[in-house]
């Protein structure tokens, strides 16, 4: 990789690393694991940067990230390499928000992996159904049906009852 490409990659990591970590966190429910996932995905994109940087590098990295996460059920060691400190920020409403987030985190973890990926890509990344379908290699119809099922599960999940009061999940 030449100097310009390396600089471009470093710039991308600096600019988009946090956004990728947020996506990774919604997939893993663990900030340290999310950082691990981001760095693993970026490391896989690094040797190909010269070929992908001119196109849509973030889409490529996001695809690697989701595929890497989906393979982690079999071969992942927690805390393998997380560089840097990851301080938690204390929220003003620490107890209430922690309960609410914990409930949603648990509910997300109970979703099948594909449904969870669809929820994160569709409603956090704000990707279109077609974009999600392309990234996951499934049909648009599957994205629609799986998203619908995931939302129904989250709405019906007992752990979300408190959360649903704050955010009207399932309300018509």
């Amino acid at each position: 990789m030449d100097r310009d490409a390396r600089a471009g990659f470093a710039e991308f990591v600096g600019a988009r690393g946090q956004a990728l970590q947020r996506t990774a966190y919604l997939l893993t429910s663990d900030w340290a694991l999310a950082e691990d996932l981001v760095q693993t995905s970026l490391a896989r994109a690094y040797p190909r940067w010269q070929w992908i940087s001119g196109d849509d590098p973030e889409a490529y990295v996001r695809r690697v990230l989701v595929n890497t996460w989906s393979s982690w059920w079999r071969r992942r060691w927690r805390g393998e390499v997380s560089t840097g400190e990851l301080p938690e920020h204390a929220a003003p409403d620490a107890f209430a928000s922690a309960d609410r987030r914990g409930a949603l985190r648990d509910a997300l973890a109970r979703l099948p992996k594909r449904q969870r990926a669809i929820v994160v890509l569709r409603y956090h990344e704000d990707m279109s159904e077609a974009q999600v379908a392309d990234l996951l290699g499934i049909s648009v119809g599957t994205v629609k049906s799986q998203a619908s099922r995931a939302l129904a599960k989250l709405r019906d999940d007992a752990a979300l009852t408190g959360y649903g009061m704050a955010l009207p999940l399932g309300g018509d």
Binding site: T83, R101, G164, G170
Partner: protein
């Protein structure tokens, strides 16, 4: 689905990431270290696999008969080759086929290998894309320049980059007897499928066989249709090896053994369903945690300040037992019976300053956990400090 659900979901997810920590200052360095380590490991893997088979990762594939061009059955091939039709998708370009042959030679015999390993003739049987467009399955036979005949089977993990040998996972075995009518070539297409834990396998046989019957103990076997002797079949979670039988619709089924290539044991191992989650593991004292199958080493680059004795939580099935070794202290390895029950046992003390034997590979200090288990043993293991 109501839009209010979607709005609520967006708000909920935004709320969930609201407490994101600051970016680590050395994220870019961490990425570069991982890249360097990955390259070292790939080089080590290639060297280790030079003798026989290579097992890798990829993504599950589905049969797409509508896209396949099939050459006539019993085509004219050399006497050493299988007279079976070729299943090649029109969407698979020639560079992919060229890349497969080049990757076979480079990965099996090393770049710059003697010319005796060069392919004199190549007979293609399968070149089919996967359902997720991120994998292409291949099967071909090669006559090497020294006259030896090899069967090569595997898959490409990144169809956009077939030139890179690293993107190929290939098995290389001796060419089978072309006159064996009940010969079946099969192997698992291992991979990062989003349907967890999933299995898909390729079957290629004489086109006279119409169906194949995959089975595991205790389950009613399904019957799968073959398309001119070929199929790529999703199967789903597995706790055992999958057995195959051929069925022509006339007479009894003919058992042909387990899925996988006879001379490539790695190809016979499915992605095993992980054992149930471990319960009661103290997350705050977690050193490492993983699920997997067979041998595995995890290296935790947590601060080497971690010290003291360890406790091991483990659950496994598929074999008599597994051994857990912490910081390469083999004399203090802990044996866990594989009865699909959770076991909590005392482990050895961590080495002060971490496990030096893995430091060189990982780029920093840390502690290692090594699992030694049979290839068909699935496990979950967590190591915590006391």
């Amino acid at each position: 689905m109501t839009s209010i659900d979607e709005l609520a979901m967006r708000s909920a997810l935004a709320d969930l990431v609201d407490n994101q920590p600051d970016a680590p200052v050395d994220r870019f360095d961490g990425v570069r270290r991982r890249h360097a380590r990955r390259r070292r490991m790939q080089a080590a893997t290639a060297a280790a696999c030079a003798a026989l088979a290579v097992a890798g990762v990829g993504i599950g594939v589905g049969l797409r008969p509508g896209h396949t061009s099939v050459t006539p059955a019993h085509r004219d091939v050399p006497s050493w080759a299988l007279p079976w039709p070729e299943h090649r998708s029109a969407s698979v370009p020639q560079p992919v086929l060229d890349g497969a042959v080049r990757a076979w030679r480079d990965r099996m015999y090393g770049e710059g290998a003697p010319s005796m390993y060069s392919p004199r003739k190549v007979i293609w049987y399968v070149a089919e894309p996967g359902v997720q467009k991120t994998q292409i399955a291949v099967v071909f036979e090669v006559e090497r320049d020294d006259g030896d005949h090899r069967l090569v089977a595997g898959w490409l993990n990144d169809p956009a980059n077939p030139q890179s040998s690293d993107n190929w996972s290939l098995y290389d075995v001796g060419a089978p007897d072309p006159h064996d009518r009940n010969l079946v070539i099969s192997f698992y297409l291992e991979g990062a499928d989003l349907q967890e834990p999933d299995n898909a396998f390729l079957v290629l046989t004489d086109p006279s066989h119409r169906t194949v019957v995959p089975s595991v103990p205790g389950q009613v076997p399904p019957v799968a249709q073959l398309d001119n002797g070929f199929a790529i079949l999703p199967y789903g979670p597995l706790r055992h090896q999958l057995h195959l039988a051929l069925s022509s619709g006339r007479g009894p089924d003919v058992p042909v053994g387990v899925v996988g290539l006879a001379d490539a044991p790695d190809s016979q191992v499915p992605a095993l369903e992980p054992p149930a989650e471990l319960v009661g593991v103290p997350q705050s004292r977690m050193l490492s945690e993983a699920s997997g199958a067979g041998d595995e080493v995890g290296f935790n680059e947590s601060p080497p300040a971690e010290r003291g004795r360890t406790v091991i939580y483990a659950r496994c099935y598929g074999g008599p037992s597994l051994d857990v070794t912490v910081d390469s202290q083999t004399s203090a390895a802990v044996t866990i019976p594989c009865d699909d029950q959770q076991h909590v046992v005392d482990g050895p003390a961590l080495l002060p300053g971490g496990d030096k034997s893995y430091e060189a590979h990982s780029g920093g200090p840390g502690h290692s956990t090594e699992i030694t288990a049979g290839t068909l043993v699935a496990w979950r293991v967590a190591v915590v400090t006391r």
